[in-house]
């Protein structure tokens, strides 16, 4: 079972955190800090796997992937396979990339709820739901369509322009 998914930037700020077992807020913060603590001390060209027992309890491993300013971290137990989890991170990133075209940290920050939607289509209740990024995209788009149908266009835009033109 997958215990948690975290997206942390290289300065230690959480960008997305989802725990599949309920954890109190303080505990979540502590876990994020711990994960960041070990990740930022790791060299560049080492393996992507780690034991996470010291802060996440018995039988937990951690797989992470470092992209530019972001760490994407999956925590899971022995019922999953490390290499496969690495690929699941890949699926997640591929989907984000399809969704945002050249995804970067900014997209992740500003589309917080969409990130959750995407993640929920890949991992469901701690199990792998879908591994094809195009299928995930289809599902997300379906939800988005419903959204736009019930939505006027009057949203966001201006804000973006205001800081862009500055």
């Amino acid at each position: 079972m997958i215990r948690a998914v975290m997206v942390i930037n290289t300065q230690g700020k959480p960008r997305l955190a989802k725990f599949y077992d309920a954890q109190p807020v303080e505990k979540q913060q502590e876990l994020i800090r711990n994960v960041y603590g070990v990740l930022c001390s790791r060299a560049e060209n080492v393996s992507n796997f780690m034991e996470a027992e010291s802060f996440f309890g018995p039988d937990t491993r951690l797989v992470y992937q470092h992209y530019a300013t972001l760490y994407i971290v999956f925590l899971f137990d022995s019922s999953e396979n490390e290499l496969a989890m690495l690929d699941l991170i890949q699926v997640f990133v591929e989907t984000l990339d399809k969704c945002f075209r050249n995804v970067c940290e900014l997209d992740i920050v500003f589309n917080y709820s969409k990130m959750h939607t995407i993640l929920d289509e890949i991992i469901f209740g701690g199990q792998v739901l879908e591994t094809s990024s195009s299928e995930v995209m289809k599902a997300v788009e379906e939800i988005s369509r419903l959204d736009t149908a019930s939505n006027s266009i009057s949203l966001v835009p201006k804000s973006v322009s205001s800081w862009r033109s500055r």
């Binding site: 979540q28 034991e51 690929d87 209740g125 199990q127 988005s144 736009t148 966001v156």
Partner: protein, 972 residues
Amino acid sequence: MEQLKTIGRELAMGSQGGFGQSKEFLELVKSIGEARSKAEEDRIVLREIETLKRRLSDPDIPKRKMKEYLIRLVYVEMLGHDASFAYIHAVKMTHDDSLLLKRTGYLAVTLFLSDDHDLIILIVNTIQKDLRSDNFLVVSAALSAVCKLINDETIPAVLPQVVELLSHPKEVVRKKAIMALHRFHQKSPSSVAHLVSNFRKRLCDNDPGVMGATLCPLFDLIAADPNSFKDLVVSFVSILKQVAERRLPKAYDYHSMPAPFIQIKLLKILALLGSGDKQASEKMYTVVGDIFRKCDSTSNIGNAVLYECLCCVSSIYLNPKLLEGATEVISRFLKSDSHNLKYMGIDGLGRLIKLSPEIAEQHQLAVIDCLEDPDDSLKRKTFELLYKMTKSSNVEVIVDRMIDYMISINDNHYKTYIASRCVELAEQFAPSNNWFIQTMNKVFEHAGDLVNVKVAHNLMRLIAEGFGEDDETADTQLRSSAVQSYLRILGEPKLPSVFLQVICWVLGEYGTADGKYSASYITGKLCDVAEAYSNDETVRAYAITAIMKIYAFEIAAGRKVDMLPECQSLVEELSASHSTDLQQRAYELQVVIDLDAHAVAVIMPPDASCEDIEIDKDLSFLNNYVEQSIEKGAQPYIPESERSGALNVITLRSQDQHEASSHGLRFEAYELPKPPVPSRVAPLTSSTELVPVPEPSYPRETYQAATISSVLDAGPSELKLRLDGVQKKWGRPTYSSSPSSTSTSSSQKTNGVAQDVASTVASSKSRETYDSRKPQVEISKEKQKLAASLFGGSSKTERKTSTANQKVARSSSSHVAEKPQVQKVATVVTDIAADRTNHQAPPDLLDLSEAAAVSAPPSIDPFKQLESLLDPAPVTSVVNNGSDGASKTPDLMGLYGDSALSGQSSSLGFNVNVTSESSNATGTDLGRGTAYPAQFSKGPSTKDSLEKDAIVRQMGVNPSSQNPNLFRDLLG
């Protein structure tokens, strides 16, 4: 225009309306991104919370606004701030009719609430309704909430609906329903126990995705009880076969692998079902073999499947052919450049090693590589493997490595773990007592505060008992070597408390036993300890008791005792200590010192800590004295419970009465007096009354010492009688328990058990050594040869060179191995080994008796000798490569020097190669390091990405020097 552009931008980002957030949210994110410190960030977030609180208290907020507030609060909570005031609004939003709002509501509650939160009860109803909805998106949203929010109490409320959804027309819903049921199973297995048949049925679902989802709960069920699912073996095998043969729709391919996640799950399930079951395993052989053959080993996911095959093979009934396939996979993994694959290879090796130990033999060099890799994960995995393959023949090298690593890390969790492993291995396989003590010393010295106290007690017991053999001289040697090492270690600053306790105890017990050290020397050291660690009461207690023992032995031996001045002052200080325990010990010491030799020898017999303790609970040895006293007219003892009317009791009771009266009058009748006990018992117990004896819960030592001191104070001749009694019954036990007065009772209890354990360990050990010795003799010749060939360079070069060179190195090394000259080298090595006084065979790291000598130097002595043969230049060049490399490379060179002298041109040429390679090693490492960033920054920097980067900078979110386009690059 501006507007249009931004809308275009929005669309370009793919964030279709609804996912975007308002200006305020963007401002918030921006200001958080710009925050210079955590405190500033907290201020911003707290201000945001205040704003939101105010807004939420507004009675009619537009729903759309509400949605946005919730998202902001979810974000705020992710940053670690409390947003509980908004939970109720999230719950309310789940009731909304609009799908968008409902989804947001569900998202917020799943992130906010745990499954035992009070508000859950308000959501259950909504979930029930939504599960029945016609819109599958509503159902999906409700199902994801079910996974997170429903606990074992609320499962029955939604279970019927979820089960119904198993036959929903949409496969996505069926899939999620299965997973929700799986979650129920995880939370409360009994709640879905009756649904197992549903899972089985779903295995035959038309949609492969649903079938795949069903495997997850089945995996859990089978792990709990494999036997009731044996009938499914055939089905699983046939599914796996179909998947592997690409019978699934193309849509299920992932990186051109057919449904790899389904394959992995199936292989995991087969591993469980085939474990220890020959019949079931036989059905799997073909399909697993097929996957081994067909699976694409170039992609990451292909390797994941191969690894899972390997795990399956190691779990099911052994099949030599499959084992071969698995071995091949492992060697491919280990030879790979990828650390991830190496990691998996080491893990796989750990699984297969139980089945065929010789596999590790083939990969020992790779294993050594991994052990010396800078990657911590890989290193730890390798230690795991080494732990599994430890035998008495290689325990020294392995434990030494573990300890070296233990010293080098700061991670306390892992330090504790590896320290306990060291202790475990040392206890199980120790080749000699001396080694054991040295090893334990190291463990204690560096991780003393982390190891279990039991380990310390074990060590003390081991020193006291010896190794169970009837060889007194060996035991004495062990003890004096322990004393010696401890005296040396005491010089180091800041030793862990547990270790100091052991040291104090051993010094007290055996410090003067072999006559090498004088009593004043040892007591001086002990005084130093007590002084240096003056805030550690336990250590001080151990120290003062040890001093007492030393003096007692001196007195018993008839020597005159001059107490050192510092010792005197210590005793004085302690007798005024706040700790009653320390006071007690100090007073005892003073009393013991004034006793005569005979009395001391009886209460503190030397080296008697292992004697059994006999406890006379009836104190029958006092009978004589009691009878005498009664004859002289003393009152017989009346147990307290029966002293109702006696005069002396009234004084005792008066206190009670006083207490009672303060509460008011007592109206109930007094208890009836019980019939008097037989008079025979009475005198026995009365004696305890006469002497101020502490409760039985007191440490025994205290008890006895108190008795003695009081006896001496009183001084009447008849009391001497009692002292005799004490001697006979209590003398030894008291003594043995003295070092650990705080844990006396427990240590006594464990004594018997522990002795048993020790003896079994000892016996198993002797058996083990016998077993391992025999084969060693048989293959010693082969071993020499292999050792020589390995020393001849293959190990060295393989370690330093890339895979391309590896083959060359190997072939040349095997080539060299055949030459007779190398035999000479071998004999040199063995000669040196023989020089060592130790009788033990050169221990090898990988146990593979043959190669070990190379893979890790058995001990440093021979290499030190060889080092002298070297000219200093290469040594210094190699030193940079890390300590291990440094210690090994020289000998290699030395050996090469040897063979070169004998005129072998081929090996000489090779030698040159080695030198250059090893000195280059650091350089290539660096090169590899720099290659990575290059990968990130390459690729075309399109206008789009530049623009984006500019925005990032402007926002101050996380300006990066790298091109944000990198995902594209990475994904190709």
